[in-house]
Symmetry: C2
Subunit: 201 residues, 2 copies
Amino acid sequence: MSAGIAHLIDDDEAIRDALSWLLRSRGIETRSWGSAEGFLADYGSAMRGCLVLDIRMQAMSGLELFDRLTQLGCTMPVIFLTGHGDVPVAVQAIKKGAFDFVEKPFNDNELADRVIAALAADRDLWLGRDRKHDIETRLASLTVREREVMDRVLGGKLNKVIADELGIAMRTVEVHRSHVFEKMGVRSAVDLARLLAGGEE
Amino acid sequence: MSAGIAHLIDDDEAIRDALSWLLRSRGIETRSWGSAEGFLADYGSAMRGCLVLDIRMQAMSGLELFDRLTQLGCTMPVIFLTGHGDVPVAVQAIKKGAFDFVEKPFNDNELADRVIAALAADRDLWLGRDRKHDIETRLASLTVREREVMDRVLGGKLNKVIADELGIAMRTVEVHRSHVFEKMGVRSAVDLARLLAGGEE
DNA sequence: AACGCCCTTGCGGATATCCACAATAGCGCC
DNA sequence: GGCGCTATTGTGGATATCCGCAAGGGCGTT
């Protein structure tokens, strides 16, 4: 499998081609667009990889595209390409959460390394997202009562105490507790605590 | 108690005074230095608060001071003051982990707000550090055996299983387990798991 | 009405945990 | 040698947890 896909957006065809050649020689798939508008039209939330984005372009600027993508919930890491006159804009970009940026003319190896880092960041993000999504799905499958019991189990409380607090019999708590473990896919309260501590915040 | 201390470093006395007046009017203590060297001489690792640092100064620049402080293990948030000609340097600063930066001439309210945010960040950092330090101290007080038992308890294993794995009697495991709880200041395996999951990584 | 889902509870037994009391043993230190 | 710390184990009892078996009620859907 490939190292990931780099989406190149620059209105200078020569640069797109140079980037494309450089990255492909490092085993990175590439796709190119000549304008921010063009990329936006093709963008979908399932898109994976990273962006290499010229910050200065005709019509819609790279920064503007970045803002729109952010609004669309896009989380792909973005590497901006900047001329050294565009630096104030680059500052904005970084503060807004751009992954990195490089000044033109760029050093080939350096840029490729950063793209690779960006692709790795995207993968990590999705790994974390998958795990979190799985946990959320499991949590959503709990009934209200089960959730109440789980919260108290996580508080380290004994079944007896939980029963008192909820005004139900201990046996009932045990049943809920066991359902919680089953639904959450764990076999002990310890595992549950680690699952939730590791997958949230 | 005060909102925190802002350390002002700028070779322009007029700016130092203006900053100092502004911040004090917002309840923030200030201390001023006219040079990076002067601040470095006074710096100690116990220093708390944040820095407001002119990025362009005689002799040692703000960025250079920032690098040295980082090497010294200083984690105070740094807000850089930059003229708009210094922007490329500001970019470097942000990439190196500066907390924020503002361009001169600055808007009073905006700058004060950022200083307040920086002070809050410093407090949070120390809160986290204190908790982590406390946990590490407790962990260090565990004997080797206790640690071995704890690791397995966190794995959700039953005392019986742990006893088998370590080749000792269940009773011994129980003793270690109880010591671990006592030393770590928790009363159940669940609490322990949450303590370690929340304080590490 | 019948079915499914959830909440509820009781009984009883197999396991596990928690702990006080008690004891043996190695190791380093004064 | 005595003292303290750590590791080790045993006995026995009070609690807790884990679970299958059994069963009643509420609620919404078909």
